[in-house]
Amino acid sequence: MKHLLTTIAASAMLLTTGLANASGELFIYNWTEYTPPALIEKFAKETGIKITVDTYDSNETLLAKLQSGATGYDLVVPSQNFVPILINEGLIQKIAVHELPNYKNMKDKWKYPEWDPQQEYSGPWQWGTTSFSYNSELYSGKGASLKEFFEPSDELQGRLSVFQTPDEVISLANIYLGLPFCSEDAKQMKKIQDMLLKQKESVVAYNSETMSDLMSSGEAMMTNHWNGFSRLGRTNGAPIVYAYPKEGVVGWFDSMVVPTGANNVENARKFINFIMDPVNMAMLTEEAGYGDAIKGTEAYYSDDLKSSPEVNPPSDLKVFFAPTCSPKAQSLIDKVWTKVMQ
């Protein structure tokens, strides 16, 4: 029994020293293939802070993880339409991003955005678009319309890959059908549901992580994709073309926020400030391949990035940023998706 007490005391001591060491750490939870290792190394070298990165595949997964309670993450990267949800649910905290020294580097266009009007919570990561990509060697179409994705032709039978969560798929469907985002009208949502059920007959997999693998193996000829991730697949050697359909694409802005109860808030602020430096942001944009909201990064871009079609959309491309949906609209979206998934 005495022995047991010693053990307990020893473990308690270990725990407290563990906490003391935590001051030099930062736990990041970010999307898959979205955190360049070189950037992490550079930050670690400059600050001595040890970073651990975990990944998720959708805003929904991130929200569920944060809702489930203490996660131990210090920094997460939601899209613009999920930031107000995280604020309202009390899941992220005010960290006065506008007071950080490098905030001055932000492009005016993206300062004080509508999802965080005081810029209390969020620092910029990347912004980009959601559309679809196709294998230009196998697929005969040109990706000119969202019709090719939502009403696939026979050649796509069993060769189409779609994201696993509804957020962006439904937004894209709204654009195609000319319906408003976050519709609370059951009849409109029924139209989307019917279309997605029909589309399912051609779907090989619902997937938000291994699109590039599916495309390079030829398992899929067309997939839901993000512009930068699609570029990654292409630069790795697969004949993938990112489509700019005439109806338009979904736009998103991902930003760094700090969950409530994070252990290393100051380290997270340091990291956000570090990322808002044009040199570092250019490194991120170079690897992730989307767009950034920081002045002066272009000077550091490689020629390859500057000439990539994925980051140089046609000038007449319509980009729609989805707002945060009301609970009623959200529950309709969830109903539609559950129906499609079963």
């Binding site: 029994m1 005495k2 959708s58 929904e60 997964t61 929200l63 569920a64 809702q67 489930s68 949800i85 309202n88 649910e89 069993g158 696993q164 969560t165 509804p166 059951a186 009849k187 949502m189 029924k190 549901q193 399912k200 779907v203 090989v204 997999a205 619902y206 997937n207 693998d213 193996s217 030829g218 398992e219 609970p327 959200q330 529950s331 309709l332 969830d334 109903k335 539609v336 998706w337 559950t338 129906k339 998934m341 079963q342």
Partner: protein, 301 residues
Amino acid sequence: MTLWMPKTAAGKRWLGLAPSYIVIGIFMLIPMVIMGVFSFLEPNPYGGVMPEGSVAAYVKLFFEYDLEDNLVFNPGYINIIYRSFQLSIGATLLCLAFGFPVAYYITLQPEHKRNFYIFLITIPFWTNLLIRTFAWIIILGRGGVIEMPLLAAGIIEDSLRMMYTDGAIAIGLTYSYLPLMVLPIYASLEKLDFRLLEAATDLYANRLEVMTRVVIPLCKPGIIAGCILVFIPCLGAFIAPNLLGGGKKLMLGSLVQFQFASARNWPFGAALSMLLLAVVVVVLIFYARAAKKQAAIAGEG
């Protein structure tokens, strides 16, 4: 320092068992109670639950409000449950078909070799299940390990389309849980008195009869234990259906995961887990009864 020590034997037994009660309490009962409570609450549209009692989650198993808010019978989830059973039973039978001969073969080896073979059986557990399941994508996929030589030899012209099918899920499940079938069967075969086999042969039993009337009945507890160990995790699996089935044919496990992660209906996810739990309990009761009967027969003999 004097410590309180129970005086009676029963008290000492309680104290001795206390660690296991604590472990079971913390790691099993408390999470189960939380799930049980959640299943009777209202979902919060942005994840989590709201503190309002409701049986909606259980109604949802069989009925749904369609987009126009009419309550209609919905066979969707029953289909998923049916599919889960089908695939789990299929995977269990496949495991048995492969696992029994392996276990039998190992039993027939000299002792030092046996331990080595058992060691080999456990090797897959050293690697993460997710990674092992990913490997099957490479094996079964288009132009993968199986298709490549067939394509090269001109035996097939187009892809066999093995990935993202029910068959791929069944293969993945079989692979994942095969060791759980081999080990209990081996454990019961190891105790088998092989003189009984000779005796059966002396009494003019042919090889098939020796197998069906002597070996299998004697190692039945191992077979049943193996089947349960495989069947139950199959029902709750979500890695194989997601990765190998392409997430378009949900099983119970992936449906539960989907409710918590994407659909944000925690009470429904919890209700599904409760249903899964009920199924497991029923299966275990059948097992306990069968085992009791077996023991009674053995006692008579």
